[in-house]
């Protein structure tokens, strides 16, 4: 008899709970009207950034394309007259990209970066293939001040041998002969 009473009590408690929920404000976030602020490091659409002086950061080292687990990045490297390397073409197939962020981690020049822009749906799958001009933006992304050629030992317009930041003057290798 007492177990029966308990069952009735439990039932009543359940019905009371659902009835109370009826008057609560729904917790649904209605997406297109309300867009939640995504975390800073949310990984979505990939961009190619520029250094503070407006030059392309990408040096076409192929590290991103090598590390990409789904092989969605391809490019062709080339060299400018001043010795600065760049990609003559750069292509990301977003139909294949899994937004793992490995390319961003592999990039030595902070060129390739993931943004939080995720609304890239298209009806035609071919329009998800982004070329270099679609990927390039005119800002530095997350790493605003960095300029690879100001640090590297390669002689370009940014500076000759020994003129870069934190770089010692070149040593005359003949000077320390016995």
């Amino acid at each position: 008899m007492s177990s029966g009473l308990e069952a009735v009590k439990a039932l009543a408690a359940g019905f009371a709970t659902t009835f109370k929920h009826l008057f609560r404000k729904p917790i649904t976030e209605e997406y297109p009207e309300y867009r939640r602020q995504l975390p800073e490091r949310a990984r979505a659409r990939i961009i190619l950034t520029r250094d503070p002086d407006g030059g392309e950061r990408c040096v076409a080292c192929y590290l991103c394309s090598a590390v990409c687990p789904v092989s969605c990045i391809s490019m062709q490297s080339a060299e400018r007259e001043d010795g600065r390397r760049h990609a003559s073409w750069f292509r990301i197939n977003f139909a294949r990209c899994i937004y793992c962020g490995f390319c961003e981690e592999a990039c030595p020049t902070s060129a390739i970066q993931l943004t939080s822009m995720f609304e890239t749906c298209e009806r035609k799958i071919l329009s998800l293939v982004y070329e270099k001009e679609d990927l390039l933006v005119d800002h530095g992304g997350k790493d605003k001040e960095y300029n690879f050629y100001k640090y590297t030992g390669v002689a370009t317009q940014e500076g000759g041998k020994g003129e870069h930041i934190k770089e010692a003057k070149p040593v005359n290798v003949k000077s320390n002969l016995p």
């Binding site: 019905f15 659902t18 929920h21 009826l22 609560r24 729904p26 917790i27 209605e30």
Partner: protein
Amino acid sequence: MEWLIGIIILIFKLGLVMVCLLLLAAYLVWIERKFLARLQIRYGPNRAGKFGLLQPIADTIKMMTKEDTVPETADRIIFMLAPAVVATSALLMFAVVPFGSQLTLWGKKIPLVITDLNIGLLFVFALSALGVYGVALGGWASNSKYSLLGGIRGAAQMISYELSLGLSLVPIVMLAGSLSLVDIVQAQEKYPFIFVQPVAFAIFIISAMAESKRIPFDLPEAENELGSGYHTEYSGMRFGLFFLGEYVHMQVLGALVAVLFLGGWRGPVLPPFVWLFIKIVLVALIMIWIRGTLPRLRYDQLMALGWKVLIPAALLNIMVTGAVLLL
């Protein structure tokens, strides 16, 4: 001439009731989705039209335009007929439900019921039993193990609960002295039967929910163990017909609850059919609330509840009512 007018009136009434039933069935789905969503602190459908009011229409168009697939090894004819059995048996049940007393048009009295069968209640039970065929045959003809399990469960459950459903109504018939639903409503002129038969009301509601295969008793569907059971293999409008049947069944049971316990179309101020409508929707809302609260019963619990609790309780109720009536 008299005969022709009779036919015309009958066809008009049939059309009206059919349209109302189908429309209400469609919007019952909307009500269910909305109400259930609010119980679960969600919004429910709110994209198609204001408050998602066009959702049922969108769903219907979707169902109509979907491919109608029949599994290769299915028993084709039975497979294609089974949903129609469910839908028609549910629709036909409404034929004996009165939605008003009488209408006098041009000196001619029109009873506001499609047919006032003197064995109306029996007719309802006969059709409700026929509905089992739709479920069982649909499950069997699909030639899939999940469908078959769902169909068998459906048959066993519906036959078991048919007993308590029928027995719970015997006291009502004893009180009203008639099997005709029109007479039962007439007998509730002074007070609705829920006040004198609360036990029968509880038994009837529980059995009715088992009959319409709704959530604490949705073992024939059981989407997380049988992958939606007897209608696993159905698609397009045939699947839609199963659903239509289920929602019409819900309405019919709501109407039966209204007619047998809540005084049918009786009520102050508002016109009779509005009262019937309000009562049907109220019963539906309570069913949805129950769906939003209770988990599915286990199969043995289902059978134990039916055979060990509801049927003895119904029998006891009959005896007590009989004794009180004799005294």
